[in-house]
Symmetry: C3
Subunit: 149 residues, 3 copies
């Protein structure tokens, strides 16, 4: 880790393996990524995904109140964009995921992905090898962020 003017924490990795993964129909995307990381012993990683969801829960973080507001999508939608990373929180693999979903007219909702029930989903996951990446509580934002110390 080195923090410079350009960042509050910079962690260097080598690529270990690249995984292409088809998620299970009916599974939760967030749990599936977490289980994938656990089963492969991944402590740092990054991924993208595309597919379709049966339903989703998105979050928007209240930057003043320091809590997530939930947005429920109770119908089928395309997973138009999904980007996430895996690091450690309390010693366990933790997935941080954002997504854009779209309905049958192409209209979108987006935010922090709290839950996404998979209709079909294809993940490109990059396992990274290098320093431990631990989330710690950050006073300024109220979030658990990568620890620069």
């Amino acid at each position: 880790m080195k923090a410079g003017p350009e960042s509050a924490g910079l962690f260097e990795y080598n690529t270990s393996k690249e995984l292409l993964v088809r998620l299970r129909h009916g599974a939760d995307l967030v749990q599936s990524i977490t289980e994938l990381a656990r089963s492969k012993g991944v402590e740092a990683g990054s991924f993208t995904a595309i597919g379709a969801l049966k339903s989703a829960k998105l979050g928007c973080y209240d930057q003043r109140g320091h809590e997530y507001r939930e947005i429920r999508i109770d119908s089928a939608c395309e997973l138009a964009s999904c980007t996430g990373n895996v690091s450690l929180k309390d010693g366990e693999p933790f997935a941080h995921i954002h997504a854009v979903v779209a309905d049958e007219a192409g209209n979108t909702k987006a935010g922090h992905l709290l839950e996404g029930i998979v209709f079909a989903a294809e993940v490109h996951f990059r396992q990274l090898e290098g320093p431990k990446l631990e989330r710690k509580y950050d006073d300024v934002t109220g979030l658990s962020l990568w620890n620069a110390e």
Copy 2:
């Protein structure tokens, strides 16, 4: 391939080459990616792209009726997000691509990219080396998905 509780199919790769590609003005993004994969002999890959399109056709999959509904974008738009992968379908490279596009007010449409006529587009494509990745018809979804057997 190993299927565990976390997935319905998991395929491990090494990175072969990373390509930065400027697509042709006036070309179709979907065809360009397919031709790129064919010309480089890519059987598995993953990419992101950004740029601007002259027009686009997006699809939303009807999860009950098992067919795509088409959403036409007949005007210029930013390609705000574009994520895709390449695998084999009937022995040929096949590109699966999702996108978010935005108009001059920043308003968005998103979905499965059926066609995108390039104004300007920059692609980061990762060639992957490892097991063959074949799409096969899946009864549950009506889609051609990565075959776990």
Copy 3:
């Protein structure tokens, strides 16, 4: 560089390092990426980011008038998707970034990211090793694009 029917310019790289970076609270995402590239000596790279912004300026390129129209987001938003690349422009690292942002109802705006004031942001940056990638003015689009000659 080789230009074929599939592209107007194709540049091959090896992965050098993969960086996971926490950006500074209050910094501009565009400047932070540019400074990151400069400080690490990166001449070609690609990245994704997720997080939350305090405010943002998005652009939509007028494909006829050849200028960006600005869309201001003056309130807190989720950075639902962010994809970009780094190459050289006038000999200096230049970041080209597109983003999708979402408000507390999950409603989105998207486009070319001109400025994004960071609340919290996590970047996965891939340093690439290979040919120099220079942007040059392109008459057809009015944009500075990767030079295929």
